[in-house]
Amino acid sequence: MTTTLTKPPTPEDAPTKRQGAKAGRAGGHMHAGPIAYIILALFTIGSLFPLVWTAIAASRDNNRLAQTPPPFWFGGGLFDKLELAWDNANMGEAMVNTTLVAGTSAITIVLLSTIAGFAFAKLRFRGRGALLLIVIGTMMVPPQLMIIPLYMVVAELGWTDQLQAVILPSLVNAFGVFFMRQYLVQALPDEVIEAARVDGASSWRVVWHVVFPAARPAMAVLGMLMFVQTWNDFLWPFLVLTQTGSPTVQVAVAGLGRGFTPDQSLIMAGALLGTLPLLIVFAIFGKQIVGGIMQGAVKG
């Protein structure tokens, strides 16, 4: 069995190796030198250090934070402080709220973007080009232009402090439509749609049985990106959820910083709590998220 396994690769291996060596000489596929590794190490430390230091500061008390030199290593109070921040900022409720908001938004955006992206990528209809231009144009409009009337509408409907006030406006997501369109143009062959048509499938059945399966990888990436974005959204939730009823995590964290003598270490504990869920997601799905962002970049 071992012989059959080792034998076949040898003749195929030689040419691929030679090709690899040839590509290695040119441009972007050279091996990195030590300087490159040093620069990367510096930037990696720079990226991670503020996060690690958030945990260090949260593990120390305020007196220690008001001394020089600042602490460089963990103290013993991390879990006490996390618990205190959890209670003070009503973090349990905030987490549930934010998960609800980010989850609902992400799922809805992904579904709406996929069917709209499919229509723009694969169906022919009058006004397709113009409508797609409008979609791209809406990406340019700053959110500050929206908040004043939206705030009035929300106040009029009595939605202040209610989660739908945060969810509904976040569903307008041109990026998602564009992202799915770019993906489906390439990933979904016209022949597959035609085959389903010949079998007599209606458009909705095509979406359900052909488009959704083909779009699944991109839907997962878009879902994660949208979850992160909605989870971290600050301006709008900060405006409509101010009455301290049911804030999102970001509003709760920002609220810890108020007051004239704020408890710095408590603030850090809150910031850590608000960031931790996403960091865990990134640690697990980091590779897929990186791939998704890069994929969206090339096609966009």
């Binding site: 441009g27 232009l145 920002a254 090339v298 966009g300």
Partner: protein, 337 residues
């Protein structure tokens, strides 16, 4: 590829002739009617379902995008208080003319511009350099990419609050490090240039990794033979970067510049949370008050929604002007090359 596309297209154009079995001439009348009805439904489906598929987005856009846009323009021509949003008094262009004489508006515009420049330019340059390094063959390349993306996963609120501590005047780590090399304490939260630098640092920290990945993706899409022929012509690595990499990246660079410009114009959370007095004034003397923050102060602290709307539309107009300039420059560049 286009040829294949054309072959696939006709059935759709002809309104779903795809199941084009010639009508059976000998079929009884009832059967024919049934088939006609099916075919009509089929055609209706093909014709209208695209609109059904895009309509949710556009309905939401009408309600939460276009309507607010127009309403903001309308509100900017009125005097409206936040406490009585339905009580509107027509004032014409006065909200705009007042802005022209408003030193705080110009201060905020200037701050937005300078913070925008000192956050965007170094950020994109570093991202470009990092992407170039990441494009080499590396050990543990995924690790660097994920690590650099960690700030992107951090919220504005969390990041700003941490940097407030790191930039603390008396006990902050950055001043401590500067002391170690003989520089006196800098008041990062109250002095104009240091505070703008500090706010920019938060932006740079959060977005450099993301932009790096976008540049890296574009670099990986550059065909390898471009480098090979450049190498054959004797071009050094640096000249390859200048003459092959940069021109190929031009659309991507334009994209990141546009996105960063939009982000910089809207900057709000970072300066709000960096303020030592927890106010919306962007520092005790408006040192780092951005347009987004000034809009918030006018609308939600001073309760002047009309004036806030005028600021919002001014920001939009500024963005349009920047967009046009961007477009002209990129066309020039394309024409010259």
């Amino acid at each position: 590829m286009s040829a294949r596309h054309d072959i696939a297209a006709p059935p759709a154009k002809e309104g779903g002739a795809a199941p084009a079995r010639p009508p059976a001439t000998k079929a009884p009348d009832a059967d024919k009617r049934r088939r006609d009805r099916l075919s009509r439904r089929w055609q209706r489906d093909l014709r209208w379902s695209p609109y059904a598929f895009v309509s949710p987005f556009f309905l939401l856009f009408l309600a939460f995008g276009l309507f607010p846009l127009i309403y903001t323009a309308w509100a900017s021509l009125h005097s409206v208080e936040l406490t009585a949003p339905n009580d509107m008094e027509w004032v014409g262009l006065r909200n705009y003319t007042r802005l022209l004489d408003d030193e705080f508006f110009w201060n905020a515009a200037q701050n937005t511009l300078t913070i925008g420049i000192i956050s965007t330019v170094p950020q994109l340059l570093m991202a470009m350099g990092l992407a170039h390094i990441l494009n080499y063959k590396l050990r543990a390349s995924t690790f660097y990419r994920v690590a650099m993306l960690a700030p992107y996963a951090t919220s504005i609120a969390a990041a700003s609050l941490v940097f407030v501590l790191l930039f603390g005047r008396d006990y902050g780590m950055i001043n401590w490090a500067l002391n170690a090399v003989g520089i006196d304490n800098i008041d990062w939260q109250n002095d104009k240039w240091p505070s703008q630098f500090a706010v920019s640092t938060i932006v740079i920290w959060r977005w450099t990794g993301y932009n790096t990945l976008i540049y890296l993706a574009a670099m990986q899409a550059i065909p390898q033979d471009l480098y090979e022929s450049a190498a054959l012509d004797g071009a050094s690595r640096w000249r390859q970067f200048i003459h092959v990499t940069l021109p190929s990246l031009r659309p991507t660079i334009l994209f990141t510049v546009v996105v960063s410009t939009i982000g910089a114009t809207q900057l709000f959370g970072e300066p709000l949370l960096f303020d030592p007095n927890k106010g919306a004034s962007g520092g005790p003397e408006h040192e780092f008050q951005t347009l987004g923050l000034y809009l918030y102060e006018q609308g939600w602290v001073n309760l002047h929604l009309g004036r806030a709307s005028a600021i919002a539309w001014s920001m939009f107009l500024i963005l349009i002007v920047i967009g046009v300039i961007n477009y002209v420059i990129s066309r020039r560049l394309r024409a010259s090359s």
